[in-house]
Symmetry: C2
Subunit: 394 residues, 2 copies
């Protein structure tokens, strides 16, 4: 009675994730925090870069009159200009402040985009393994999620995507670098996706957006840079966040960027601004908008993440796990020994190691390990990972 | 094509508000900012109290490790405890941290509550004149807004409310001190509302929430304090914000408080936390949660607002306007001379005075003037207000 049927059902379906979480808490209470190795969370332990602290201190010492008031619902002109300048220098595309809407993080950005574009019964394609919240976001605004699996290396499978497209397809959410697989989509892949979608739009007389969720854009290794989607497809909307690149996940600061080449740019941006307001976000937090304006070129130390990836990948490979070496984000997504991801994750818990089963991302048979953690936690998990693997006879 | 039919329609229906806004911008561009007297906005010009700046500076100078990371989706335990302690000392009701969910302001709080409780086709009663966004918030989550007009003094009309209640009624949103009327609901009124709703719940076998939107709770005059709804009705959910009491509207920091006497407290709070996450708010901004923890007893200078109210009320009354003297918030809601609120607001524009017609709040025939503004703006508007009144022959 207190909550709607749909919310109750969603909470029950997520019940085993909650059970895992509660098991983890129980283990920590029983054995002590330092005896439980929690690789289940994507909550970075790194601190924001020094430039962030300097800028915050500068503003706290020299408050600007009116700096905590309402501003236009799409954000401060100066901040949107700084974001546009950053995108312009990175992509060569002439972004202006008018192409940007500042948001309460990427989760807000995705909800605002979906609210703005979805008519009833329209479909949005997501690629498995996917960030589990996408399903809720699409459903919030009356859309239907259609899942297209990726290939063995977690790259887009164009046959699967083509099969998933119908006349009701309104968008496809992509996420590179990917949570949970760490996969990075190369430029050729984005080009091929753009070509497929243009062809399908022509076939169905429809308009299909690429909604590119890019919070891990700067968390990328091996000297790579993350290719931009914009040059490859006009109808592109990017959702971004400073949760990972500036290590500010709790502050809820991010943005939407619309391709300047999109043909109905003004109407879309007016709609995004309207929905940012009416969904109750109203505007991105004012102080953080002031802070990140000066930090568009700044990132946390990615070399440290790469070192952690290399350590964890090498150790798991040596033990005999089967996994892809990812080039971005801060997760590994190995095959679950024995094939049953929930059983394997439960076995890991016996050794006080916490991980997330692949079915939490729409891909049973795998499990996710996060490495945005202290080295001691990663090292402490090795024994349990080795024992659980032997237990499943791999 | 770029935006959904519903969003397009909503934006078109709000078209005349946008036209007024654009007219105002055009006037400012033509005559200069200081020649246009904009009483249309509720964006306080007062700065946050000194305690806020001190606390922000203290945190910027002494950052706590991990203070910008994710925390539980309902917020920091310490901040929820501080909010609970404040409510407890104010109401005598034994609130605990578990009764609180920190949110991205009151607009987020209302959306989270409505998402959590509404099944399809359920109804939510709103009292006209009402904050125009309520309609969007209810519709976002599949509900239907049912309007019950208030009486001549903008107090709840219990016959109208009773007539509006059906077996599908899931809640009633109240807002005292009220935007736009400034009305404050006395304890007897809340008691009577609680009795009516209990009777109607029994009659229909339903559960009806009071959703009390209280951002203006501390903006109250004449030595009054704002009565709490909690003692008068078990099924009460309060949505609050520090936008007005700490003058932080741009920072998006507020909370939901559930009555400890509510019978399904745990399930409701789990649902609220779940919806805070899945609607994309994720959590209230971390830094502001740290800051407001220490400021639960602090407010802006309400005496200054009272002085502005007294000035504006006296001047309008002297001129011959017909209006109620409100005891809270920072708006006056006079009758529109001639009866046509849009025509009258357009006449005010001729004299470079900007106001909002009452139909923007579901109550044609009135207009809203905001006074959370510099004295010079209020004084500058007097001439135009006098001339427009004469023009309509009152």
């Amino acid at each position: 009675m207190p909550v709607s049927n749909k919310v109750r059902l969603s909470m029950e379906q997520g019940g085993w994730i909650r059970r895992m979480f509660e098991t983890g808490n129980a283990l920590k209470a029983q054995y002590g925090e330092d005896k439980v190795f929690d690789l289940s969370l994507g909550n970075p332990v790194v601190e924001p870069p020094p430039e962030f602290h300097q800028e915050l201190l500068r503003l706290a010492e020299n408050p600007i009159k009116g700096m905590h008031r309402y501003m236009p619902n799409n954000g401060y002109q100066e901040t949107r200009q700084a974001v546009a300048d950053g995108l312009k220098s990175e992509s060569g595309i002439p972004f202006s402040a008018g192409d940007i809407v500042m948001t309460c993080g990427a989760a807000a950005a995705l909800n605002v985009v979906l609210k703005t574009i979805l008519d009833p019964a329209e479909e949005v394609i997501i690629l498995s393994p996917y960030f589990v919240e996408y399903g809720f976001y699409i459903d919030n605004h009356g859309g239907t999620a259609v899942v297209a699996p990726t290939d063995r290396e977690f790259q887009p499978d164009f046959e699967a995507i083509e099969a998933a497209i119908t006349p009701r397809t309104r968008g496809i959410i992509i996420n590179s670098p990917n949570n949970p697989s760490g996969a990075v989509y190369p430029a050729e892949c984005l080009k091929a996706l753009g070509e497929l979608l243009r062809q399908k739009q022509a076939q169905h007389g429809s308009e299909i957006f690429i909604i590119s969720d890019e919070p891990y854009r700067r968390i990328i290794y091996d000297g790579l840079t993350c290719p931009q989607v914009f040059p490859h497809y006009e109808n592109t909307i990017v959702c971004n966040s400073h949760a990972k690149d500036l290590a500010l996940p709790g502050e809820r600061i991010g943005y939407i960027a619309v391709n300047p080449a999109y043909s109905h740019r003004d109407e879309l941006l007016n709609g995004l601004t309207f929905c940012n307001r009416t969904l109750g976000f109203v505007n991105a937090p004012a102080l953080m908008q002031h802070v990140v304006r000066a930090l568009q070129g700044v990132s946390v130390d990615v070399a440290d993440y790469q070192r952690k990836r290399d350590y964890l990948y090498a150790r798991l490979t040596d033990m005999g796990y089967s996994l892809i070496k990812p080039q971005g984000a801060f997760y590994l997504f190995p095959e679950a020994p024995g094939g049953d991801d929930v059983a394997f994750v439960e076995a890991l818990q016996q050794w006080n190691v916490l991980a997330v089963p692949g079915r939490g991302f729409g891909t049973p048979g795998y499990f996710r390990l996060s490495y945005c953690l202290e080295d001691s936690v990663l090292e402490g998990a090795m024994d349990g990972l080795a024992r659980a693997l032997r237990q499943f006879g791999a």
